[in-house]
């Protein structure tokens, strides 16, 4: 055993302190909002005077919370469709770009990734103006199209990363053994990049679920989205159901993350 010197101890203290601080900043708000969601009180006050499931019951009431439910389903549907379509497009684009080494491919790559950098607010406004020039009315499909643009790059980026890590010799071996390109893609490329695609889909889905800027411009009263609805409730009534929604969202994300880890962890174990 080696004795730890004074500087080791100081180092450990400082790192520990920073980590603790980081966790505090990240986790404390979550704990506060969850605690608040179980309050008996009428207001969003912390700490809650007493605990109950009152606001969850209220939130799941099919009549009184109907608009929230509609908005939630809209959000899930838009996120789901945009993620699926975005994944297909991104995987195809990433495959094409890794196959070409021309400078034009670099240019395309940059432009496919640009929505990650472009302020979504400007894009939301631009999309609204563009679609109204074309005479297209707001609808869920329009929202899907809008979200698609801002979330597809997540899948594109993770897929590109796993493709560049793929050993090209594997595909040569596949061809050498008599496999067609498509067969090699199905049995070699796809299984090996699947964890990357899944991770990208997860990020894309989450970022669509809590996207405000694009939804703000492209939705109307009929196509309300959850984050917009929550903001509305916040402004008008300070309804405690918001905290309950936040609680549900946090729980759902946590579950999704566990599922993701199981899946990609599994595929990682299979492919590593």
């Amino acid at each position: 055993m080696q004795r730890s010197t004074l500087s080791d101890v100081t180092y450990n203290w400082i790192v520990g302190l920073l980590a603790g601080l980081g966790i505090l900043i990240l986790v404390a708000p979550v704990i506060i909002v969850i605690a608040t969601s179980f309050t008996t009180s009428q207001t969003l006050r912390f700490p809650p005077p007493d605990l109950s499931l009152r606001w969850y019951r209220e939130l799941f009431d099919p009549v009184r919370s109907a608009p929230i439910h509609t908005a939630a389903w809209n959000s899930v549907w838009v996120a789901f469709v945009a993620t699926v379509v975005g994944a297909v497009l991104s995987v195809l684009a990433a495959l094409a770009i890794t196959r070409v080494s021309r400078p034009s491919a670099r240019l395309l790559e940059a432009s496919f990734l640009s929505p990650l950098i472009l302020p979504s607010l400007s894009y939301g406004l631009a999309a609204l103006m563009f679609f109204s020039v074309l005479g297209i009315r707001p609808s869920l499909n329009l929202l899907i199209a809008g979200h698609l643009v801002v979330i597809a790059p997540f899948v594109f980026r993770t897929t590109l990363a796993s493709l560049t890590q793929l050993d090209p010799a594997l595909l040569e071996a596949s061809a050498n053994l008599g496999a067609s390109r498509f067969y090699g893609f199905r049995r070699i490329t796809l299984p090996l990049i699947a964890p990357g695609i899944a991770a990208g889909c997860f990020l894309a889905f989450i970022s669509s679920m809590d996207n405000v800027p694009v939804s703000l411009f492209l939705s109307n009263a009929r196509t309300g989205m959850l984050p917009i609805r929550m903001w509305g409730m916040m402004e008008s009534t300070l309804d405690v159901r918001i905290a309950a929604i936040a609680g549900v969202l946090i729980l759902a994300t946590l579950l999704l993350m566990i599922v993701m880890d199981r899946l990609t962890g599994l595929t990682k174990r299979m492919s590593a």
């Binding site: 010799a169 040569e172 071996a173 050498n176 053994l177 008599g178 049995r187 492919s271």
Partner: protein, 367 residues
């Protein structure tokens, strides 16, 4: 269909490379290579880094389209066939095993890709596993295997499709020394058993010597010499081959005259030796005489064809004693003599250097 012998294996097919030339845009990576590999023969491509060995192998496999020249298997040109139709087995340098598949799935891959029946796949995998002695590891993933085991899986995978030709790119580079010899024997055995025509790329001369029927020494995209290991070692065709294969001593000299036994060469160490050569040299031509260290000896007394040297260092290397000596004109030489048990270094400070009894020096024009 290919001709099949009674063992069910294809009879060995010759592979002909005819004037293969390729450049990646800059200079020539492969420069007009012509090579006829006989059916069932094992040829090693040997050469320094960057001389175009891998490029040549990849051209044969179809991963690179050559700028010029033809590749013929049997009597059929295969230049227009894609890699998947060439029926050439490859063992890649890092094996390129499919990491997400088991040993069984790896070996069955080529058969599955061809749409062979489940039954045939199972039979063939069992057969290949038995041949490479990996039955107990059939359900492991590649990363759970040692380097030697991985290589055997790579071999089994390549051979499962019953290829006509086997290509090996630095197959032993990733293995440690003891395992190397085992795998060299293994590969040689399988190559014979499957009646394969094989080309192996390597920059390890011992490996090439041990395993190949013939060696093609390459330099700068060209084949410098093609011959059996013994020919290459004993009669190097050029100064490059001489320097690349084994170690050798170079002595400068001038041709004095041509005699019946060879050229009489006056050495810079103030002796003269008679050296046979197939090349022509005019009297007065400046030349280099090359002698292998084990073809020289040290004597205690002066004599004909001997020159004095001062001993600098003696290294006992296994059964040999390697002496590092310097001639009066400054030429530095290595002399390898059999080591008597218990002897670790040499006797005297000065000695006389001479050709050993069966020495076969080579003569090259001075560049």
């Amino acid at each position: 269909m290919l001709p099949r012998s009674e063992t069910g294996l294809a009879t060995a097919q010759p592979l002909t490379l005819d004037g293969i030339t390729h450049s990646y845009g800059g200079g020539l990576a492969v420069d007009n290579v012509t090579l006829e590999v006989k059916g069932g023969e094992f040829v090693a491509l040997l050469g320094p880094s960057g001389c175009g060995k891998t490029t040549l192998l990849r051209i044969v496999a179809g991963f690179i389209e050559q700028g010029n020249g033809k590749i013929i298997i049997g009597d059929r040109p295969i230049d227009t066939l894609p890699p998947s139709k060439r029926e050439i087995g490859i063992v890649f340098q890092n094996y390129a095993l499919f990491p997400h598949m088991t040993v069984t799935q790896n070996i069955a891959y080529g058969l599955a890709a061809r749409g062979e029946s489940r039954k045939l796949q199972e039979e063939r995998v069992a057969e290949m596993l038995a041949i490479v002695q990996l039955e107990t590891l059939a359900d492991r993933k590649p990363r759970q295997l040692s380097g030697g085991q991985q290589q055997r899986v790579a071999l089994a995978r390549a051979l499962a499709i019953r290829p006509r030709i086997l290509l090996l790119d630095e197959p032993f580079a990733a293995l440690d020394k003891n395992l190397r010899l085992d795998m060299q024997i293994e590969i040689k055995r399988l190559q014979r058993q499957f009646a394969l025509t094989a080309i192996m790329v390597t920059h390890d001369q011992d490996e090439a010597m041990a395993i190949a029927d013939r060696i093609a020494v390459m330099s700068q995209g060209r084949i410098e010499q093609l011959g059996t290991p013994v020919q290459i070692y004993d009669e190097p065709a050029s100064l490059f081959v001489n320097g690349f294969i084994g170690s050798s001593n170079l002595l400068a000299g001038t041709v004095e005259a041509a005699t019946a036994e060879g050229y009489r060469v006056a050495l810079s160490t103030s002796t003269s030796w008679t050296v046979p050569s197939r090349q022509n040299f005019a009297p007065g031509a400046p030349v280099l005489v090359s002698v292998r260290p084990e073809q020289m000896t040290l004597a205690d007394e002066a004599g004909e064809g001997r020159f004095p040297v001062s001993l600098k260092l003696s290294l006992p290397i296994g059964g040999e004693l390697i002496h590092d000596v310097t001639a009066p004109d400054g030429t530095s030489l290595k002399v390898a003599v059999p080591r008597r048990p218990g002897v670790a270094s040499s006797r005297a400070e000065t000695a006389f250097c001479a050709l050993a009894d069966h020495a076969r020096p080579s003569l090259f024009a001075k560049p």
